[in-house]
């Protein structure tokens, strides 16, 4: 095993081009587990810890450019206004020690369906900035997950950052685990209201071979909100519509039975989380709307 220590991003890309099998390591919270237990013996381990800008973020006009190695703790502490869904998801990642090291780049690189960031990124709408010596490209999050623990990266590419639209409405994230902290998702659900585009987006974790959106559920709900003029009038969404939305979210799952939970439970829980997170966000939206109108 060789340990590569690129001093900056250019060196990292050059090294990855030269050694496409090199495994990048930043927080180490996935890679080191595999090495400690002999499940993985990469030829090259490439420490990205010296590439400073990976751990930085920029808040732009409409978008946050989040370095791939910004620790979850930082996201929780500094980006809960801009990226509330991702900040909530970050708070559910493993333990404080892991949140101090791990970042979104690791979740994306590993592309495990259980990664906590995925549902939030799907719901918020994100683009993955992938780079190689050949250039930089942005991969829409919907096209990023290609299979179980597989993603759209080319062998010579590294994840540099994620571009996430700043929240234009309430966002929520829920995750079910069998204990109340430090737990891998049995399943997870992210939801974001986008009043600017009059859309709702979702993300489901750990209930299909890849993180997925509940497309049919989103379409259904978008139609309900549209037809009722609910974005404008801020009325409640009928319980039957919320129920239908939850059912469609559950139906978007393609889960398995495993040691963490049954497929039936996952479908069921995704439905419950869909209903609750939508209710929370919609109530928040209505509340904010009332406050705004009251101010006018």
């Amino acid at each position: 095993m060789d340990f590569l220590r690129p001093a900056d991003w250019e060196e990292a890309l050059a090294a990855k081009a030269e050694h496409p099998t090199a495994v990048p390591i930043a927080g180490g919270t996935d890679v080191m587990v595999e090495i400690n237990f002999g499940h993985r013996r990469p030829e090259y381990l490439m420490d990205l810890g010296r590439v400073g800008d990976l751990a930085e973020w920029e808040v732009g006009e409409d978008c946050v450019r989040l370095g791939a190695a910004v620790p979850y703790t930082r996201i929780m502490e500094h980006l809960s206004a801009e990226l509330p869904g991702l900040a909530l998801a970050s708070h559910t990642v493993a333990s404080p020690q892991i949140r101090n090291r791990g970042g979104v780049g690791g979740n994306l690189g590993t592309a495990s369906p259980a990664g906590d960031a995925h549902p939030a990124l799907l719901a918020a709408g994100a683009e993955v900035e992938a780079a190689s010596v050949r250039g930089v490209r942005r991969i829409p999050i919907d096209a990023f997950y290609t299979g179980v623990k597989r993603n759209a990266l080319e062998p010579d590419e590294l994840i540099r950052a994620v571009h996430v639209a700043k929240a234009d409405g309430p966002q929520q994230f829920s995750k079910v685990g069998t204990r109340n902290a430090m737990v891998i998702a049995v399943c997870a659900f992210g939801l974001a209201l986008h009043p600017a585009t009059r859309t709702v987006r979702t993300g489901i974790g750990s209930a299909a071979p890849t993180p997925v959106r509940a497309g049919a559920a989103e379409e259904f709900l978008n139609a309900v909100l549209e037809e009722g003029g609910l974005w404008e009038n801020g009325k409640i969404v009928t319980p039957s519509a919320v129920k239908r939305f939850a059912e469609l979210c559950a139906a978007a799952c393609d889960p398995i039975d495993d040691v963490r939970g049954t497929a039936d439970y996952r479908r069921h829980a995704v439905g419950v989380m869909a209903r609750r997170t939508f209710t929370w966000t919609w109530e928040s939206y209505r509340g904010a709307r009332r406050t705004t109108e009251g101010a006018v």
């Binding site: 237990f37 994230f173 204990r179 109340n180 439970y265 419950v272």
Partner: protein
């Protein structure tokens, strides 16, 4: 902390600081908080090698061939050993039955069985070399449950059994079976107004001590070996190790290193023999440290069980009879299974009066992971079922569950199903009364002005509810556990105590082989010495095999038995020092001739408090050293047919009340409070006692809600050997744990004490489950109860 009942006969030195009854702090505390305490995995030696085990990847198979050539050729590898390399004809070990191969021979019987061992200069080299050993398996049919174990033509896990249980069991795939028949259950059933039956299933729990199995073996110049090891019982290890190595016991010198928890999981050998074999083969020190993955294969687990119960009761709430059948899965090797069967059978009715019982408990041999000792063994599984039954019967009768238990609560003098009279306090009703009288935690404690605090809600940080679907439930349970080794076992301990003057003050040295695994035995030994000898300065020597056996740190027995041995040895030392005093100073003061002289504050005093002499002046240059064995009252085996017999030496009792909040839609549980009342006879160290009760309580909580070693029913492979998927309660899963301690002396025990460690693990589980049942209205007949069981999606 409340004390009621009789004073608990402290004879000596109540005025000596740091004695019995005080919350003296741990002698190893400073080392443990500074990182200087040397655990087994911290051992280091110049030029040491690292040992690694290759384990079977299948559960039941013939070994067709083993090829170690590639491993041996790996640079940095010093030795590779298989069964054929074992030095003597003794190639098996075991606690009671020597049925466990040191390295697999001919076949493997469970997933993860050791097949070969490697020593290399770096752990990674050893791991890689082990991975290069090629083992060809021919898979055999699996025994995975009672049906497959006892089916006609079932494959035998062990052929040609010759152990002492073999003749009494109904099938060779049954390790041991214990019936208990007392009274006439059939006739009594006729008097019952209600009869309630239930089938329960108890999951496999892991001890999950945090310090993984580790040790360092150093070859000696005399051809022997020094082994630094984390274990629960040095001398039991020694008896199993030495014959395999072909060494006399005095050339296998064992020293206890720091032990990172045990809970039963270190009662069996793990890497002890392997490390010694490699050290003797290579002539170099060999260190072995399991990682967490391997630890799940490296020790026995708590027996999973299937339990069938029938309870009858009259309309006025009195039990008429109990019938039960408890089937424990012992896995591939016997380990402690026979004793677990004995406990499960004899404690199967719980702390209740019932004269007509028909009980059967048995343990299977199977190709599942071996199961053995874990905190409260046998009693834990039984309590889960009988307390569930008690709730069911109460409901059937329309009685409050606590009241129904109180009506049937045993007391001193009650006869156990074995016919044994409970001859010390059995305050079952009082414990229940206390637990019920404790104030309830406030409702909706998670609500604040800033909204819901998810950390106090089911799901915790995962943000699954802000109060939706949350229902509160309350549950009660009480349990009974035996203390000490039972069924005629010669359960003794040895203590060596030395008293001398050093630097102008008297000092005491206590030497035992007791395994300090975290329970605080070292603290208590020092306290006993202070109390008995009136000396503040007490040194606890390292535990090793240069002193006689202290028995196992298990069965809640160490304070009782090794504590008893220390007390006994101290009393002998006291007699000797008083003799010297009488010789030297008897003529100076008439009180020397009297009885009732005490040692207090470094002085010899009369019972009236008059100082006769300083201990240093009595001792001068004399060193008084006494080594004594001490045994508790003898017990007898249970009759193999009727189960009758005075099988246990002491019983201990604890009761719990659980308050839970359940997210009934998602099936997630937050335990809000888990209160315990326990009788400890006499709290030698109240802080340690409470620590034991709280720790045991949370292990019980873990059983109820999350802990289970999942074994694939088709392949018998362990599915979750990691802390990622074997979940232990975190601090956010753990509620406030109020403790109410009773001290009702057992006159047969030193200071009146009662073993503490295990009882709280029994009733905790069922109290939590009862509370979840109360919240959900579901029957819940298994442990652990997972979200899918609470949402109809299992």
């Amino acid at each position: 902390m409340t004390a009621v009942g009789a004073p608990t006969g402290i004879s000596q030195g109540s005025r000596t600081r740091g004695g019995v009854g005080e919350s003296t702090l741990r002698p190893d505390g400073v080392l443990k908080v500074t990182g200087a305490f040397a655990y087994a995995s911290d051992m280091w030696h110049e030029d040491m090698l690292w040992g690694q085990i290759l384990r079977s990847t299948v559960a039941h198979a013939e070994i067709v061939s083993v090829d170690t050539s590639e491993a041996l050729a790996t640079p940095g590898v010093y030795a590779v050993m298989t069964y054929d390399d074992l030095p003597t004809g003794v190639r098996h070990y075991g606690l009671e039955i020597r049925d466990t191969p040191v390295l697999a021979h001919g076949k493997v019987r469970h997933h993860g069985e050791p097949v070969a061992i490697v020593a290399a200069d770096h752990p990674e080299t050893a791991r890689r070399a082990a991975a290069r050993i090629t083992v060809e398996y021919r898979e055999l049919p699996l025994v995975t449950d009672e049906a497959s174990a006892t089916a006609p033509g079932a494959v035998l896990v062990h052929e040609h059994r010759t152990d002492h249980h073999a003749a009494h069991v109904p099938h060779p795939n049954i390790v041991h079976r214990q019936p208990i028949v007392r009274g006439d259950a059939d006739a009594a059933a006729g008097r019952a107004d209600v009869i309630v039956t239930g089938d329960y299933s108890f999951g496999m729990q892991d001890q999950a001590f945090l310090g993984p199995e580790s040790g360092l073996a150093v070859p000696g110049e005399d051809g022997g070996v020094d082994l630094y090891i984390a274990t629960q019982w040095l001398h039991s290890d020694l008896r199993q190790i030495a014959p395999v190595l072909g060494l006399p016991e005095d050339r296998v010198r064992m020293t206890l290193s720091g032990v990172g928890g045990a809970f039963g999981g270190r009662e069996d050998l793990s890497m002890q023999i392997h490390a010694c074999l490699l050290a003797l083969r290579t002539g170099k020190p060999v260190k072995m440290v399991y990682n967490r993955f391997e630890s799940f294969f490296g020790h026995v687990h708590r027996h999973p069980a299937r339990l069938h119960y029938e309870h009858g009761a009259t309309r006025d709430g009195r039990l008429t009879h109990v019938r039960c059948r408890i089937v424990l899965d012992g896995g591939a090797y016997a380990s402690a299974s026979p004793a677990v069967v004995g406990n499960a059978a004899s404690l199967s009715v719980g702390p209740y009066v019932c004269d007509d019982v028909d009980i059967e408990a048995l343990a299977l041999y199977s190709n599942n992971p071996p199961c053995g000792a874990m905190r409260g063994f046998g009693a834990v599984q039984a309590c889960f079922a009988y307390e569930a039954q008690m709730d069911k019967v109460a409901r059937e009768l329309g009685l409050d569950p606590v009241e129904f238990r109180r009506i049937n609560a045993m007391e001193q003098g009650t006869l156990m199903p074995t016919g044994q009279s409970v001859d010390s306090p059995a305050p079952v009703a009082e414990l229940l009364r206390r637990i019920k009288a404790m104030p309830m935690p406030p409702e909706r404690q998670w609500e604040s002005s800033e909204g819901a605090d998810v950390r106090q809600l089911p799901g915790g940080l995962s943000n699954t509810t802000h109060g939706e679907g949350v229902v509160r439930g309350v549950g009660y349970a009480v349990g009974i556990k035996n203390v000490g080794f039972s069924e005629g076992f010669d359960d003794y301990s040895t203590a060596r105590v030395r008293l001398e003057a050093a630097g102008g003050r008297p000092v005491v040295t206590v030497h035992t082989a007791m395994a300090e695994v975290g329970q605080g035995g070292v603290t208590v030994h020092a306290q006993i010495a202070r109390t008995e000898l009136g000396v503040t300065q007490v040194t606890i020597e390292p535990a090793d095999t240069r002193v006689g056996s202290a028995g196992s740190t298990s069965a809640s027995r160490q304070t009782y038995v090794t504590g008893g041995a220390v007390k006994h040895a101290c009393e002998q030392v006291r007699e000797r020092v008083l003799d010297i005093g009488r010789r030297r100073f008897g003529s100076h003061h008439p009180a020397w001739a009297g009885a009732g002289l005490l040692l207090e504050g470094g002085k010899v005093v009369t019972d009236g408090g008059e100082v006769l002499a300083d201990l240093v002046d009595v001792l001068e240059d004399e060193v008084i050293e006494v080594e004594r064995e001490w045994r508790h009252r003898p017990t007898e085996p249970f009759d193999p047919r009727t189960g009758q017999g005075n099988g246990h030496v002491q019983y201990s009792f604890a009761a719990h009340r659980a308050v839970v909040e359940v997210d009934t839609e998602l099936g997630l549980v937050k335990v809000v409070e888990l209160a315990c009342a326990q009788d400890v006879g006499k709290a030698l160290n109240p802080l340690s006692v409470i620590g034991q009760i709280q720790g045991g309580t949370v292990q019980g909580l873990g059983i109820a809600l999350m802990e289970e070693v999942v074994v694939d029913p088709v392949t018998a492979e362990v599915k979750n050997p990691s802390f990622t998927d074997y979940l232990l309660p975190t601090i956010l899963d753990t509620p406030a744990l109020p403790v109410d301690v009773l001290e009702l002396a057992d006159d047969h025990a030193p200071y009146g004490l009662r073993g503490v460690g295990e009882a709280p693990t029994l009733s905790s589980t069922l109290a939590v489950l009862a509370a979840v049942r109360d919240a959900t209205g579901l029957a819940l007949d298994r442990t652990p109860v997972r979200p899918e069981h609470l949402t109809g999606t299992a």
